[in-house]
């Protein structure tokens, strides 16, 4: 058993456990902290796939940015102490049925698909390949992404502006 297999197994256990904690824990704030663990574990999964750049992006944007924003939103809409932060779940039974059905469908599809090809050797620096592709083949999408970010941030600022 190689080191990579052990790393993948450990990360998979951490990921599934923390994801379950995100959807099951009563305290919304703890839920966000578990989400931070899930996103960090995903960065580890990216590392086992030789995608160091994406692991860094994942940590910066997701585990850094998203968690910070969500914590701010919780602070605004809930009180951090007291009973109000506890959240109840509803319709657990139908949720189990829907999620279980989707999971079974996905798993049968994955396990029946002819995918068992070996991992090809790493052809050069993936970070350099990503950079080259972004600034040549996908340059229009990249610029549109900048425009999209501008629009989204303006919209967020507009919605969350203080009352005048």
């Amino acid at each position: 058993m190689s080191l990579e297999t052990i790393a993948f197994g450990g990360l998979a256990v951490v990921l599934v456990a923390s994801a379950l904690a995100v959807v099951l824990t009563k305290n919304l704030f703890h839920s966000v902290l578990w989400l931070a663990l899930t996103l960090t574990g995903t960065a580890g999964i990216f590392l086992t796939l030789d995608a160091e750049f994406l692991a860094a992006v994942q940590l910066l944007l997701y585990a850094g940015g998203v968690v910070t924003i969500v914590v701010f939103a919780i602070v605004v809409t809930e009180r951090l102490v007291g009973d109000r932060i506890t959240q109840t779940s509803r319709q657990i039974f139908s949720g189990l049925i829907i999620a279980g059905a989707v999971l079974v469908g996905l798993l049968t599809f994955i396990l029946r698909a002819p995918l068992s090809r070996p991992r090809p050797p790493l052809g050069g620096d993936l970070t350099r390949a990503i950079g080259d592709a972004v600034l040549t083949r996908f340059v229009l999408s990249f610029e549109l992404l900048g425009l999209f970010f501008f629009a989204a941030l303006l919209g967020a600022l507009y919605f969350a502006r203080p009352d005048d």
Partner: protein, 103 residues
Amino acid sequence: MPASVSLQGYLVLAAVLFAVGLFGVVTRRNTIGILLGIELMLNAVNINLVAFARFNGDAVGMVFTVFTISITVAEVALGLALVILIFRVRRTAIADHLDLLRG
């Protein structure tokens, strides 16, 4: 035990995470909790994209992942701004209380 993890291993992990996120979206009552479930689902999709890109030996899938991560962050920022706005107007963050359009 194979020497390295197969593509199926990554896909199964992503499928499980996706199902867990879907369960959260269906069962959570707080809008922020629903957003966290959506985050989990998008995260699972990213694992799929990166795994396919690596096993195909093609960096294009990783470029796509950069795009999806960025768009997700913008989506969360905008979604939480909407949550805060709704909270200001209706004084609630529970999705079931937002039944203004119910006939």
